[in-house]
Amino acid sequence: MDLAIFLVQLLNGLQYGLLLFLIASGLTLVFGVMGILNLAHGSMYMVGAYLAWYFFQGTESFLFSAVISAVIALMLGVLIERTLICRMYKRNHLDQVLLTIGMIFVFNALQSLLWGNDPLGVDVPDALSGSLHLTGVVEYPVYRIFVALFCVAIAAALYFVINRTRLGMLIRAGESNREMVECLGVDISRLYTIVFGAGVMLATIAGVVAAPMASIVPGMGEHVLISCFVVVVIGGMGSIKGALVGALLVGVVDTFASVVVPDVASMIVYILMAVILLIKPQGLFSN
């Protein structure tokens, strides 16, 4: 592998990893703070991509599509938490898994009903089309660089909210001792609604920004969900920092594996996960 290919693959891996982080951060936040295993999290990624396509058809504006999709996602997240997830807090993980698997079927059926099963695509916004010359011979799409920087900005914002704001303190406290948070006069239900809504919004935004880079197809949610679980398990369930490190690891390893050892590429990340679990059974940054 020459340096040019290596550089492009490294960028691809980092960009894919950062996108995975955007999705996995919501999954790990909802699990860490609320103790909820949400298998329908991948469906929110799919919903984001389809919403982006739908609004882009009508408006031709990617920015408008992204904003309106994020707002709808937040409302959808709040609705799901208030009507379904709130009934799961005192139930075990198996019940949560059954409910959220059921939600996957519902979202897939709705997607098929509303938008059909043909692959769809969204154009890269004009302002972000084209490529950047990294070296004399190496070019890299501007949109992919934008997605990577956007994900870094979201990660920084998430870090700021979790570590530097009162809301973040309450979220961390809720993760540590729910009963005590309530005993300080904090409405933990509202906190959970905010966290779940934010988690859904993060996954949906990931779907929106991924839409111009990937085919929008049925089942895209399940595929990304499995990768996200690998990320969350590697990073440690409930750890945002772990999700970032895990996502970058999975992104880079998966990308290089499909170039270097394409025949066995699909199993490399699982081998990586198994090795990390052998060394650190709770994941890299478990709480």
Partner: protein, 237 residues
Amino acid sequence: MSTHLLEVRGLHTLYGASHILHGVDLCIEPGQAVSLMGRNGMGKTTTLKSLLGVVTPRSGEVSFKGQRLDALPTWQRMRRGIAYVPEGRGMFHNLTVREHLQMANRPNDRGETQWDYDRVLALFPRLGERLDNLGTQLSGGEQQMLAIGRALLTNPDLLILDEATEGLAPLIRKEIWDVIRLIKQSGISTLIVDKNIQVLKTLCDQHVVLVKGRVAFSGNSQQLLENMSEVESYLSV
């Protein structure tokens, strides 16, 4: 309308099939300190958790400032002006001392702020030296100070302390009792669960002793002194 700050009537609480509280009654007047005593497993913490709504009683009434609390979730009861320092101190493993105090800080239900961050640090100067440490990195005494400071920052009318001096060295224990006296003098009512009857008989105005989930003794400090041998028999192992 009742003049009681807190009024608990006929509290029955069950854990599964185990009947823990058998009709507990408890009253606290504004500004009063009330002790709740009893041997281990007699229902003291269950009484606190029942009146806070952390566990749901089978029956009974809880009123605070003349308003019924029974139908309210825990957080809304606390917002009415109750603060709780739990047994074990309830530290958050992932929050620093500063964050423990900042996240709890709010005015009371009348919008007043008698206790703020600086006043709590003045009361507990040792916390000021450990602001960037995690709550769980503190010594037992410091954790207790943090738990009390955090509770005060919610600007309560009633402070409930569950085994606040348990497991502490004698000097630290004395320091905590001195702080509780100061809190009482500042006008905050207190409900104190502890085993140290020698301190409680002078610190508190009213005393309640539980035996097997029932009120075995209830009276003021004078009545406590008059019935000391009977009360001590309820408390001895």
